[in-house]
C-alpha cells in the first residue's frame, strides 16, 4: 500500500513549509503548513482506525473503508473527545466517564487543526504566526509518536470507532 506512510510524510512536509523562509515567513507557507499538518492527522487517524478494526483487509477493501470517514463527523467526535467526560450524542448517557488526557489532547489538536485548515484554505483575512504553527506540528508529531504505547486501550477503541460511527452510539435498538 503506497499511502501507508502518508501521515508521516505530510507532517515532514508541514515542518518544511513552516521553516521554509529563514526570517519573515510568508503567509502562503504557513497556510500550506497548517493545511498539510491537518491532513497528516486526518490520514493518521483514519489509517489507525482502519488498521485496528479491519487488520487483514485487501488493499482494495482497505481503500473502500478509508473513504467511509468524513471531516464533519470527525470534527464532532474531536470536539466531544476533547472533554474529560464524553457524552453520547443526543443522549444524556456517558460514553466515557474519564477520558484520558492523552486522547483529549489528540482530539483537541484535531478539532483545532481542522478549523484552522478551513481558515487557511478559505479565509483571505486569516493570519498565522510561525510559532503557533511550529508548536502545533510538534504536538501532532508527539501524539503520532506516542500512539503505539496507548493504541490498544478501550478508550482509544471508543475514540476510533466514534470517528466512523458517532451517531450510532445513541441508537437504542
Amino acid at each position: 500500500m503506497n499511502a501507508q506512510m502518508l501521515p508521516e510524510h505530510l507532517l515532514e512536509q508541514a515542518r518544511h513549509l513552516a521553516q521554509r523562509e529563514r526570517n519573515r515567513p510568508r503567509q502562503a507557507s504557513l497556510r500550506r503548513a497548517v493545511s498539510t499538518a491537518y491532513y497528516a492527522l486526518f490520514h493518521f487517524l483514519i489509517r489507525e482506525a482502519t488498521r485496528q478494526f479491519g487488520p487483514d483487509l485487501s488493499e482494495e477493501n482497505y481503500n473502500r473503508v478509508y473513504r467511509w470517514f468524513d471531516h464533519g463527523t470527525m470534527a464532532r467526535v474531536a470536539r466531544a473527545f476533547s472533554e474529560k467526560v464524553v457524552r453520547i450524542p443526543n443522549s444524556k448517557e456517558l460514553l466515557l466517564q474519564n477520558n484520558p488526557s492523552w486522547i483529549q489532547l489528540i482530539a483537541f489538536t484535531f478539532a483545532e487543526l481542522q478549523e484552522w485548515r478551513h481558515s487557511a484554505d478559505y479565509d483571505p483575512g486569516a493570519q498565522f504566526v510561525r510559532a503557533e504553527v511550529v508548536e502545533t506540528i510538534r504536538i501532532t508529531e508527539h501524539v503520532i509518536r506516542q500512539w503505539k504505547t496507548v493504541k490498544n486501550s478501550p478508550e482509544v477503541n471508543a475514540f476510533l470507532l466514534s470517528l466512523l460511527l458517532w451517531e450510532k452510539w445513541g441508537k437504542q435498538r
Binding site: A75, A131, E135
Partner: protein, 100 residues
C-alpha cells in the same frame, strides 16, 4: 430555548470567566494583548475564538525556543481545559496572531 427547543447557554458566566482568564497578569509576558469572540465553527457549532497578540520579534524568539514554546502550549491547553470545563458548549479555538 432556541428555535430548535434546545436550552441556550447563558454566556454571561462564560464571558466573565474569559475576562478573568485573559487578564493581562495571567498571560505569558510576550503576549501584548488578548481578545475573544463568541462565534461558530465552520459547521455552525458554538465557538469561542481567542486571539493572543504577539510582536514579530516574539514570534521569531518563540519559533526558535523549544522550551518557551512548550510552556506556551501548556498555557494554551490549560486555558482550553478551563473553558471546556464550563460545559458551555462553546469550543475554544486559541491562537497567537501578530499584533496590529
Amino acid at each position: 430555548m432556541n428555535t430548535q427547543g434546545e436550552a441556550v447557554y447563558d454566556t454571561q458566566e462564560l464571558e466573565r470567566t474569559l475576562r478573568e482568564l485573559l487578564a493581562p497578569e495571567r498571560l505569558p509576558d510576550y503576549v501584548l494583548s488578548a481578545r475573544y469572540e463568541l462565534s461558530t465553527d465552520q459547521y455552525g457549532e458554538p465557538a469561542v475564538r481567542i486571539y493572543l497578540a504577539i510582536s514579530p520579534e516574539s514570534d521569531q524568539m518563540l519559533s526558535n525556543d523549544k522550551e518557551k514554546l512548550e510552556e506556551y502550549s501548556l498555557f494554551k491547553q490549560d486555558l482550553a481545559r478551563r473553558i471546556l470545563e464550563l460545559d458551555s458548549g462553546y469550543f475554544p479555538f486559541i491562537r497567537m496572531v501578530e499584533a496590529a
